[in-house]
Symmetry: C2
Subunit: 422 residues, 2 copies
């Protein structure tokens, strides 16, 4: 059954369509933190951040159904849905992040954010970190260094080395903030010297894809100073750390102490419904709309807004941000009790946790990490790996993850590592 | 109430957020071809193609609710939903259009299509028509000539004049196909001479935004010959004419007799649920996936596929494509019975109809057209205008539009025009 499904999938969706795991799972049902495959096997979901408040949360499903049966049009007609949601959303931000553009995907949000930088500065240069991913549009995918695009890398993109917990920039954790700011300053100079000019710095304030290094509050202060001096726009991509994922704060930029001009939101926003947004300072939104005009047919439709609103309701009613902090700290503690010579680091915040594996001389161990991922799956735990070297476990479950779930994950991880040679 | 909503909207969503009509309507409910505003006023929807099978069609709502309650994940796990839908969808195409990439918006689909052209040819030059709109990403919005982007127009985009019913290219309807092909040939030469090289031609095969000129089957044959000779990829943007809109055919490219390499789908696909797709020849999809890699978090999720599948079900069960042909022809006949000195042309296909207004010497009459749009709205009929000069009514209702609906629209239009000076 699954084999034939794989074959049909390859025929109809084309080759190189990514799947997880050596033998991909065929998931048919989800509820809360649980997933079931076609054979009825139950998995603890320690990976998916899109079903933020839990797979198929009844309140979100109900909100989608109710609105889908009443009206689903676009924003060229007036509707309370988008205005009420925007009002509620900006209430979650401090600073002047007071306007919202609603779209369908985080990629669309980041595509807009880059143009906001252009509209404000009149320049096109972008600085991003060197192991990042901000989405899949033509413009946004050029921020990633993974594959050279046809026609070559865009001349307006400069990449800077991202900070690291295990191998800090400049060799010491203490000096890392200044070293990072120095890389940004040099990239700005290069863009200006090339006649392109510097428009914006875009980063995930949790540096999620880079392996979410442990960084102190204020880490980005020297970088902000450099960017402000150059008149650039700061874009915080909150697609991963946003909506309380890190437990201590609603947004990753608050956690690290960054005050961005633009924030982009995506994956968890509608619990799986395709909805995303750009939250920005009013003058930034105004500059963008003036310079580019913009209309998104599905963006901010009443159903998408109902789904997104229900997610905020559930986050508050079930106190899931506090849960992320409490259960995340508990899970981290449990993970730190595990001992294995290949463990180079255990870190994370809230319900975004990782365990980094390395051999002698801190040599990254991506193969070992892949084996752990497969062994966990074989024991009914879904997680994955990430980081510059793909040697860090990515543990990022739905937010209603409990202590009991954390115990199951940590116990299984201990068991798996116990059976693995150093 | 509505005034305060408008003010909140401007404050929260920013300035220049487009609305329809001098006094925007505040729509709160939809069913079939009907919309209701906050004061309980009922409107006949003659504009919206997104609610393709009718606003809030119960079968589509039911499909969304059912799947949203069971599972909504991504395509890195196996799921029948996307494979079954892709299978059903490619069955609607002839030629070798046998593979599908699912995304969330028509903009995302066109953004991929352009990169498919790059992947196949190794070049980046794109040719589009000069009054077109293919979406809102950075790359795709550069196809539009409406606003020069910051940093200037992209050097890899060339625009050719689009065909016209009232003011044909080259002065005669007979020679228009060759003249259009000649423009394309010159644009190809320019791209090659500039060292950019020609990758793809993208067009709406119905030339919807250009005012959907009446063009004969085979109109694009000379253009296709030119593109094929240069080794280019042909992209048909079916976001507007697709899914049977034009009545006689499922796809606009079939109607005009074009065999594209890539087809993009959007707005009507999920009846308002954010789902879109690229359908392409297997070798084109393979080249794209090989050159760029691609993953779309929400694209092809089980709920989106359920919504899209239900749309196909309803189209077939209610024979809505045949309905579009029959009612569209009837409506066109009724519109042709209307006489007014400003009417320059009445045209369309299926349920995509227009009436073009011009003064002496075929001088386009955008203001007159705008007054007609407002007067129709005042009488409970929602439609709009389009075309190079915004002097053509855009009548594009949900597909269950009936003869009775057509009569109401045509009677009201006659009444409105009767009251307007020449």
């Amino acid at each position: 059954m699954s084999e034939s499904l794989l074959q049909r999938r390859a025929r109809l969706l084309g080759p190189n369509m990514p799947t997880f795991y050596a033998d991909p799972v065929h998931i048919v049902r989800g509820q809360g933190v649980w997933l079931w495959d076609a054979e009825g096997r139950k998995y603890l979901d320690c990976y998916n951040n899109v079903p933020h408040v839990g797979h198929c949360h009844p309140k979100v499903v109900e909100a989608i159904c109710a609105q889908a049966g009443v009206l689903n049009t676009h924003t060229r007609y007036l509707h309370e849905g988008i205005v009420d949601y925007a009002d509620r959303l900006v209430g979650k931000f401090s600073g002047e992040l007071e306007t919202v553009i609603m779209v369908c995907t985080g990629s669309e949000a980041n595509d807009i954010a880059l143009r906001m930088g252009q509209a404000v500065t009149g320049k096109t240069g972008v600085i991003a970190t060197d192991n990042t991913y901000h989405g899949n549009t033509t413009a946004v995918s050029q921020l990633s260094s993974k594959k050279p695009p046809i026609g070559g890398y865009a001349p307006n993109v400069r990449r800077v080395p991202s900070p690291d917990s295990v191998r800090p920039l400049g060799g010491s954790m203490e000096g890392q903030a200044e070293v990072f700011a120095g890389h940004v300053a040099r990239a700005i100079d290069e863009l200006e010297e090339a006649g392109i000019g510097f428009a914006s710095l875009i980063l995930c304030p949790f540096f999620a894809n880079e392996g979410f290094p442990d960084l102190p509050h204020g880490f980005l202060d020297p970088t902000v100073e450099v960017v402000r001096r150059a008149g650039g726009v700061i874009i915080a991509d909150e697609v991963q750390p946003g909506f309380g994922r890190t437990g201590s704060h609603w947004w990753g930029h608050e956690r690290i102490g960054l005050a961005p001009d633009v924030v982009t939101l995506g994956k968890p926003m509608g619990n799986g419904h395709p909805v995303a947004a750009v939250v920005a300072k009013p003058e930034v939104t105004a500059a963008f709309r003036e310079a580019f005009g913009y209309f998104n047919t599905f963006g901010g439709n009443p159903v998408s807004c109902a789904a997104a609103m229900a997610v905020l309701d559930v986050l508050e009613e079930e106190e899931l941000v506090a849960n992320a902090e409490e259960v995340g700290a508990y899970a981290l503690g449990r993970m730190r009790e595990i001992h294995h010579p290949m463990i180079a680091d255990v870190r994370g915040a809230g319900l975004f946790l990782g365990m980094e594996f390395a051999g002698e001389g801190l040599e990254p161990a991506p193969e070992f990490t892949a084996q752990v991922v497969e062994a966990m799956k074989a024991r009914g735990i879904l997680l994955n790996r990430l980081g510059r070297h793909y040697n860090c476990l990515k543990i990022r479950p739905p937010m209603p993850f409990s202590r009991e779930n954390a115990d199951q994950m940590a116990d299984t991880l201990a068991e798996v590592l116990d059976g693995m040679p150093a």
